[in-house]
């Protein structure tokens, strides 16, 4: 058990990360043009150079801020509507075609359209919202209605109170998929927001910093920003995952 966990959580990730770095290293050596594939050392140097800049932190804060706001808005609406839909089936019938259509819109046309409609500062918020809301809504709704009917019936037979049913039956059964959805949508949201910022030229944002690196052909810097985005999205997922682990103890 213990060694199994060690393999899963540490050894395999280290090996796969090592493999990735090796591929990067070899490709950079073979191509041998810093402009196209910057070396690892150049990228790491750029990364630490970024850490010393004031702009770096304000760009991250700006992007994180937008990510969290649009995520929270989508989250609250998705939860509220999923709960209401579970009790009012017609609402789900009304919402699910909309959700299906919205999910089918190509991300890029959505980004371009909202840029036309809104200003560069607010359009990433709307884009993030529109992309993650349908995913969260469908997943929350499915989780709520798929609570085991047998257990609901058992609870009614034993005259368990509504309050205890919500606390001990509904919430715990919804929680695992709830956390998994939050975890994957929050990092998706970060990526979407950054793409939107690139195209919308949002002031004080990671997207615009990446766009500038590209414009000045600072490929190593662009990669360094990419590294930052990866780390951020990983951190967001870890935070959600730790909350899940702390909350759900019965799934061994």
């Amino acid at each position: 058990m213990k060694t199994n966990k060690l393999y899963k959580n540490i050894i395999y990730p280290v090996i796969s990360l090592g493999l990735l770095i090796l591929i990067w290293f070899v490709t950079a050596k073979v191509v041998d043009i810093e402009l196209i594939i910057p070396s690892i050392s150049a990228t790491v140097k750029e990364f630490f150079a970024l850490l010393g800049q004031k702009q770096f932190y304000s760009a991250i804060l700006g992007t994180l801020n937008r990510t969290l706001i649009s995520f929270l808005l989508a989250f609250i609406m998705a939860i509220a509507l999923a709960i209401i839909s579970a009790f009012l089936p017609f609402l789900n019938k009304l919402l699910s075609p909309i959700v299906t259509v919205v999910r089918a819109i190509p991300t890029m046309s959505l980004i371009l359209l909202t840029i036309i409609w809104l200003n560069p500062q607010t359009s990433p918020l709307l884009i993030g919202f529109v992309i993650v809301f349908p995913i969260m809504y469908s997943s929350f709704y499915t989780a709520i209605i798929s609570v085991d009917n047998d257990l609901i019936q058992m609870s009614k037979a034993y005259n368990v109170s509504k309050k205890d049913m919500v606390l001990s039956l509904y919430l715990p059964n919804i929680a695992p998929s709830f956390f998994d959805t939050v975890r994957s949508t929050i990092s998706l949201n970060l990526k979407i927001i950054i793409s939107a910022e690139v195209l919308a030229q949002t002031k004080i944002s990671m997207g615009v910093m990446m766009q500038m690196s590209k414009a000045y052909l600072e490929t190593a810097q662009l990669l360094a920003w990419t590294l930052v985005a990866i780390i951020l999205s990983y951190l967001l997922e870890i935070i959600v995952y730790s909350i899940k682990k702390a909350t759900i103890r019965w799934e061994k």
Binding site: K156, A157, V160, S161, S168, W250, K252
Partner: protein, 224 residues
């Protein structure tokens, strides 16, 4: 327990039509009958889990229900699953813990009190569902094929535990099964149900006399 003029329909499928039945208190009444004749439906009517026309005199009674599948909450421990049905019963938390400890001793799960259902074997989980039925302060117990799908030695073991629990706390029990031997072993009275709520056979077992049992067995096989 008394059921009066019970009528139950699913669309155009009439499961019970003006059905009447009186059941002796604190005895085990076994209900046999072929698949789809309405045994589960009858239990669900008594437990107010489905709507119906007619009257039962147990509408405000507490009822224990043992299902074929254990129906335990995976997120609660063994003790937590018992606590779950006791919370709404006006016991103090001390009383609840005491009841839980006592019943777990009876079903021989004292050591497993803090385990989660996923860590239990099928037989242990079924014992928890027996414990839940008997820890719950009800006068009525409904059982829907609780021993189905268990292998023979496990079934014997669980039936023994059921008998211990029942002798310790005699509830008015309705026991639905497909297994004629189970019925002959446990029942104080055997009812064979036919389609549309017709009673094909209704026999009280005053004694476990061999001749009487084998005669009854032959009769039941003939009808079913």
């Amino acid at each position: 327990m008394k059921l009066t003029s019970i009528t139950k329909r699913y669309d155009d499928n009439t499961v019970f039509d003006n059905f009447n039945l009186t059941i002796q208190d604190n005895k085990i009444t076994c209900i046999l009958g072929k698949s789809g004749c309405g045994k589960t439906t009858l239990l669900n009517i008594i437990a107010h889990l489905t709507d119906y026309q007619g009257k039962t005199d147990v509408e405000n009674e507490k009822i224990s229900y043992i299902f074929q599948n254990q129906r335990l909450l995976n997120n609660l421990t063994v003790a937590g699953n018992l606590r779950y049905v006791l919370k709404n019963c006006n016991f103090s938390s001390n009383e609840i813990e005491e009841k839980i400890n006592d019943i777990l001793k009876l079903v021989k799960l004292k050591e497993n009190k803090h385990m989660y259902p996923k860590q239990l074997s099928g037989g242990m989980a079924q014992r928890v569902s027996l414990a839940r039925a008997f820890v719950y302060p009800s006068k009525i117990l409904l059982m829907d094929e609780p021993f189905k799908g268990l292998d023979i030695s496990l079934k014997k073991h669980i039936i023994k535990i059921f008998q211990d629990l029942f002798n310790n706390d005699k509830k008015t029990t309705i026991f639905v099964t497909h297994d004629i031997e189970e019925a002959l072993l446990l029942a104080d009275r055997i009812i064979v149900l036919g389609d549309g709520g017709i009673i094909l056979l209704d026999k009280e077992l005053e004694s476990r006399d061999d001749a009487l049992i084998s005669n009854l067995r032959r009769n039941i096989y003939k009808i079913m």
